[in-house]
Amino acid sequence: MTTQTAQAAQAAKDERPLLSVQDLKIRIQMENGVMHAVDGVDFEIKKGKTLGLVGESGCGKSLTSRAIIGINPKECETTGTIGYDSADAADSELNLLSLDPKGKRIRSIRGRKIAMIFQEPMTAFSPMYTIGNQIMEAIRTHRTKNKKEAKKIALEMLGKVGISDQEKRFDQYPHEFSGGMRQRAMISMALSCNPELLIADEPTTALDVTIQAQVLELMQSLQREFGMAILLVTHDLGIIAEMCDEVAVMYLGKIVEQAPVKELFYNPKHPYTKGLLKSMPRLGGEKSVRLDSIEGSVPMPIDMPPMCGFYERCKDRIEGVCNVNAVPKTDISDQHTVRCFLYTDRPEGESP
């Protein structure tokens, strides 16, 4: 065990993270105040590894993932740093957030270095153009201006994601594809420029379960082949367990717990994480026993006083502590952190 941790520490020293997000905050001006949609998020993704970002709808996980390549709507006021360290010397040690979101520099990263796949492949493709046209577009923007060559690459990519009869498929429109096929085509489009980081925003939510498994398997095998890192945004813990090396649990714009995947599943600390794990159905569980659910719903993060966002719903809350102080980050081990007063040395907390 000790040698393993030592090795891991050594490896961590060797490899600087590919992406390191620090103190990312996204504020949105609403009619009734400022919404802190993402409120001080930190995480790192190492080269070739997979980080899962898990949380309920509206917790800010999609905004966080889109902020990385700067494609959020302009109403989102984003601060913090997003350090990106490409293997290419030209793109090493960049702060993506400092780039003009409409400028050339960030556009040369999008699609080429960091690609993205989306939840709804039907709406993510335009119904007006053929699949081939839309895949070739990325290739022709970043790899080659030559149309024939671009088509060759696109056909090859379609083959890689398991689409047969590529020549015919290439000239078909999105509505002629099935849901699973569309998501495969989406993946082939994202991977067509050989990115270092793939952001997958709920890639399987819109698919049925058998197709889900196929798509996840495909993503894993392509990850092995291309050696890219993946940021997997999902609300499905099952997918996290299958795909990820590390997990960050988000709640109300904050990462409340972050740990390697096994650690998180076997040794969850935050009451929210525990609740999430308990609400998962298990094979062989009693049918008559109701699944646990977390009471209440997520509050709107508008003009929140310094307090734990989970306070209202938490079974283990400490009155007078959790609802009056901002929650600091506590290290459980060197890879496991949690934001909860139950684990701080000073339960009084720190003043914000």
Binding site: I71, R107, R110, F118, F125, M128, T130, Y173, H175, M189
Partner: protein, 332 residues
């Protein structure tokens, strides 16, 4: 695609026949006929027409037969001889009257239409992309005004302004020295100069309408996930704007193309009277007043043909633009 077009054209034939009958029937409906309005004119002029004279005239013109028979004769002549009947008012064949006015009517209508699309589409895109900016408010304000202002009022205002600024109210489509002159560069320029006011007056309301439609469509399209996907691929904003939202937003605009042609035709009547334009509106108006039934019927028939044709064109265009519709007929 070709098969679909042929099918649509064949389907249009019974529609046109049905319309032609309705048109003829409606023109017959008001009490009296051309002979009675003619005799009223004669009486006003001091001459008296006897009942026998009137019956004689009716028999000559074929107006004493039942409606369906008149209709059958009219249609038969159109189909076999291309003869649309005789205009009582103008005292010459309907075709001659039509020919006289059709050219300029088409010029005014087509220029107005081009004006509408050329102005409305870019402004619609601009106001959507810069939603809630000063420019958006400016153009939205103008387009609401445009929709609310009656045509004839605007025509009078523009005539007045043109007169005070340029010393010429720009009535009609030609200056007096060019009306009967052969076509030349100078006549062309004169026509273009005279077209400015009618085109603005006739086109403003529907331009304003089109701006609103285009803006709404664009706002819908700009927030679609496929725009975010395009952005995540690293395309430039300009390329994204024209390739994705604009292209998709054009579909509903194209599908209204069919009506806009005929609405320009019918909508321009009052303007044409106010501005003294030698186009079909006033001719039609006079024909209806004087119960000049073959002229009125033929114009109405042309207009309904145009509507049918416009709808056909927009359907075919839409099929060409929208891959989903295209697949549907490939399936058939």
């Amino acid at each position: 695609m070709l098969q679909y077009s042929i099918k649509r054209i064949l389907m249009a034939i019974p529609v046109v026949m049905f319309i032609s009958f309705i048109v003829f029937y409606i023109i017959q409906l008001p009490p009296g006929d051309y002979v009675s309005s003619y005799s009223a004119q004669m009486t006003a002029a001091g001459e008296v027409m006897t009942q026998a004279d009137m019956d004689q005239m009716r028999a000559n013109l074929g107006l004493d037969r039942p409606v369906y028979e008149q209709y059958a004769i009219w249609i038969k002549k159109i189909v076999f001889y291309g003869d649309f009947g005789y205009s009582f008012n103008y005292n010459k064949p309907v075709m001659d009257v039509v020919k006289q006015y059709m050219g300029l009517t088409l010029v005014v209508s087509l220029v107005t239409m081009a004006f509408q699309y050329i102005v409305a589409i870019p402004i619609g895109i601009y106001t959507a992309v810069k939603q809630y900016s000063a420019g958006d408010y400016f153009f939205s304000g103008i387009s609401f005004l445009g929709m609310a202002t009656p045509n004839f009022l605007l025509a009078i205002i523009l005539m007045y302004l043109s007169y005070t600024w340029f010393g010429d109210p720009l009535l009609g489509l030609f200056s007096s020295e060019y009306v009967n002159a052969p076509w030349s560069m100078a006549k062309m320029m004169d026509l273009l100069k005279h077209l400015v006011i009618p085109v603005i007056v006739i086109g403003l309301a529907s331009t304003a309408d089109l701006i609103r439609v285009m803006r709404g469509q664009m706002l819908d399209e700009l927030n679609k996930p496929n725009v975010i996907t395009a952005r995540s691929k690293g395309l430039s904003e300009t390329k994204i704007l024209f390739k994705y939202p604009t292209r998709a937003a054009l579909n509903p605009i194209v599908s209204t193309f069919g009506w806009s042609l005929s609405s320009i035709f019918t909508g321009s009547t009052i303007t044409a009277i106010v501005l003294n334009l030698p186009i079909q509106g006033p001719v039609m108006y006079k024909a209806l007043l004087g119960q000049d039934m073959y002229l009125a019927g033929s114009w109405l028939l042309f207009m309904s043909l145009l509507t049918v044709l416009g709808t056909l064109i927009s359907d075919i265009l839409l099929a060409w633009l929208d891959p989903k519709i295209r697949t549907e007929f490939r399936g058939n």
